[in-house]
């Protein structure tokens, strides 16, 4: 139940307030009279109405507040006293109501400023602003407009209240609106002006306030009502207070987003540099040095690792490149590298260096991945050659050699020029093995060490190809070819004759050169692409006529690098 202010005031005087009640009781006793009072709704607040014969009405501002009943006319003095008490109480309550109204506004603006300071975009701020404005200003229509700093166009950010003219309003009134925004003033539009403006035909009352920040005006808020309203200066002031808050919030949001954008751009630039640098110096290399990022490495950083080094080289590159101009040459090398890189990465390796007609890859996880990658590279190459054949292009052959061992990765150079470098005898050996693969005519050539370190050697098939002593080295190396790199038909041939080949090698090392030659001849005849068989056939045949030294162990001395 929500009784009126007048009713409450009367109740307060006659029922609740002990002070006024005492005063009235004293007056009654002094005057020797009694009275009763019931309010406009018939609630008895004092005395017993049935007891009295006379009645007078208590009025205030043409409002009937209640009936005062009495017998003795002297009791009318009490009515006068009641009037005075009522007026005081009523004024107190009225002021109290007004103050509470103002307090609500303060509280709302307080809440608004907190709410919009959390928003970081103009649209949310605009929406909250309009929503809050409707809470304290009687309005049916609202528009939140901003002036685009670049295009000078007036843009609607938020609105409430529909009208058939809303879509065209800004367009039609843009000149006026822009001018109002530039002026940065606030006003209550006189009702006559609202009525005479066809664009405002759906409204009877309009007021507006600017979105002002320091000396700039970002836009404006227009509020209107479809019924006639007497907008007061106080309401306009309230709207101005609200728009000031919004404008400040929007400005902060702009600055915030600008800052955010700049940070993002910077981050993006750094990320791009990072991505690019990662392509030039492999991240695996950086990580091996115990660093997360290339910016952290410094001259002299180094790390020793046990790795498998793989060299891959395009055979007969010189022949191919002779037929191409430098640009096409480059494209040809790229076409090759593009196909091989992903295979290396997929098997846990990374390309340490491109070497013009080939590359060096490192496999920190060891030879299993290195050999798998090598087999897959040869497969991929056969597919590539099939594509090339369709375009009448020469097939590309690649020799692959690998070796296991310790390796030092480090940052070398000087303070102005740094480079990732590796220093290792393993690298030299791997490069020589790759060179030998051409000499032996194998697709993939590896050392005993490399083969022994395979975690799952059963996945591959090998042929033992004897021992070599590399130039400048003391220790001979046992060599194996992995026949999985060969084309299927050749691999099948090598597999089928594996036992015979092994027999040939045994005879060779037992210095039974004639028998060995016959054996290798037999194999070679079956498939003339079996180049290792041909090589040992030639070696054996050559040794038949040679005088063999006592300490001959079949180690091939490599005299070239």
């Amino acid at each position: 139940m929500n009784s009126s202010t007048s009713q409450k005031a009367l109740k307060q005087i006659l029922k609740r307030d002990a002070e006024t009640r005492g005063l009235l009781e004293n007056l009654c006793a002094g005057l020797g009279v009694e009275f009763s009072f019931e309010d406009a709704e018939g609630n008895v607040l004092w005395g017993d109405p049935g007891q009295f014969s006379q009645a007078a009405v208590l009025e205030h501002q043409q409002e009937e507040l209640g009936t005062f009943r009495y017998d003795n006319p002297r009791a009318l003095t009490l009515l006068d006293a009641l009037k005075v008490l009522f007026l005081k109480e009523w004024e107190k309550k009225k002021i109290g109501k007004e103050v509470l109204g103002l307090y609500r506004e303060i509280n709302m603006i307080y809440g608004l400023s907190e709410m919009i300071s959390e928003k970081i975009d103009a649209e949310s701020i605009a929406r909250v602003t309009l929503e809050e404005a409707t809470q304290i200003i009687n309005t049916t229509h609202g528009l939140f407009l901003m002036l685009d700093a670049d295009t000078e166009r007036v843009v609607e950010v938020a609105h409430f209240g529909e009208s058939p003219l809303r879509d065209t309003f800004i367009q039609d009134q843009e000149e006026v609106l822009r001018e109002l925004i530039r002026r940065g003033t606030s006003a209550i539009v006189p009702a006559s002006r609202v009525a005479s403006n066809p664009a405002l035909s759906h409204l009877k009352a309009v007021m507006y306030a600017p979105l002002k920040v320091k000396h700039r005006t970002l836009g404006m808020v227009i509020l209107g009502h479809q019924e006639a309203q007497d907008y007061t200066a106080a309401e306009l002031k309230l709207l101005t207070t609200i728009t000031l808050q919004s404008a400040t919030a929007i400005e902060s949001a702009h600055l915030y987003q600008k800052g955010l954008r700049e940070v993002r751009e910077r981050e993006e630039a750094i990320r791009k540099i990072h991505d690019a640098s990662q392509k030039f110096v492999p991240s695996e290399f950086i990580r091996s040095l115990g660093r997360d990022h290339i910016t952290e490495v410094s001259l002299g950083d180094l790390a020793e690792r046990e790795v498998t080094v793989v060299f891959a080289d395009i055979r007969g590159f010189t022949t191919i490149s002779e037929t191409l101009d430098p640009r096409d040459n480059f494209l040809f090398v790229n076409a090759f590298n593009i196909r091989m890189g992903p295979i290396i990465r997929r098997h846990g390796g990374f390309i340490m260096q491109y070497l013009g007609d080939g590359f060096m890859a490192l496999f920190p996880e060891g030879s299993q991945g290195a050999l798998s990658a090598s087999v897959e590279m040869q497969e991929r190459l056969r597919e590539y050659n099939a594509e090339r054949a369709l375009k009448n292009r020469m097939p590309v052959q690649v020799g692959i050699g690998m070796q296991n061992g310790k390796l030092i990765m480090g940052i070398t150079g000087d303070s102005e020029r740094l480079d990732a470098a590796i220093i290792s005898d393993t690298v030299n050996t791997a490069a020589r093995i790759e060179g030998l693969s051409k000499h032996y005519g194998t697709s993939i050539l590896l050392t005993q060490e490399c083969k022994d370190s395979l975690t799952d050697p059963g996945r591959f098939d090998f042929r033992y190809l004897g021992r070599v002593q590399l130039k400048g080295k003391n220790k001979p190396i046992d060599l194996f070819e992995c026949i999985d790199g060969d084309e299927p038909e050749l691999k099948r041939h090598k597999l089928q004759n594996l036992a015979v080949f092994t027999q040939g090698m045994d005879r060779y090392f037992n210095r039974e050169f004639a028998m060995a030659a016959v054996t290798f001849q037999q194999i070679y005849k079956l498939d003339e692409r079996d180049l290792p068989a041909k090589l040992f056939l030639n070696r054996a045949a050559h040794l038949i006529t040679q005088e063999i030294e006592e300490n001959w162990e079949g180690v091939e001395m490599m005299t070239t690098k």
Binding site: M1, N2, S3, K8, K11, R16, K93, G96, K97, V99, L100, Y103, R104, I106, N107, Y110, G111
Partner: protein, 125 residues
């Protein structure tokens, strides 16, 4: 609803604001009581045993914290529901107030509608 509600604030205009905010409760039979300092508040609480007290923290003579502590800890009047009122920016007092036994906490400027709703809810219990 035969309940009593005590409003304690040294500033007359705040008392009036709270009175205005809560005056509709009178229609439901709630008696509004007032005190303009802590000492007065304490004696009214002891005599009248109000159901709910809106208690300002910053007051001369005896501040709200102390009143709260006396009521809850010394007099053990735990059934008197106390809502502490503090100005915005004094939120640091919050935990202290709750430690003193306050049941709830409101900041000024308060939201009149929220205050009315809370008072109504507590008095209806």
């Amino acid at each position: 609803m035969n309940k009593k509600l005590l409003i304690v604030d040294d500033e007359a205009h705040i008392r009036m604001l709270i009175e205005q905010t809560l005056e509709d409760l009178e229609d439901e039979g709630v008696e509004l009581l007032f005190a303009d300092n802590g000492e007065k508040a304490l004696s009214i609480i002891q005599e009248e045993r109000p159901d709910l007290v809106f208690l300002d923290v910053m007051m001369p003579k005896m501040n709200g914290m102390e009143v709260c502590q006396r009521v809850k800890k010394e007099l053990k009047l735990t059934e008197v529901y106390i809502i502490l009122l503090t100005a915005k920016g004094q939120e640091v007092d919050r935990q202290k107030g709750l430690d003193m036994g306050a049941d709830r906490y409101m900041t000024k400027p308060f939201d009149p509608d929220e205050m009315f709703a809370i008072a109504e809810e507590i008095l209806k219990k």
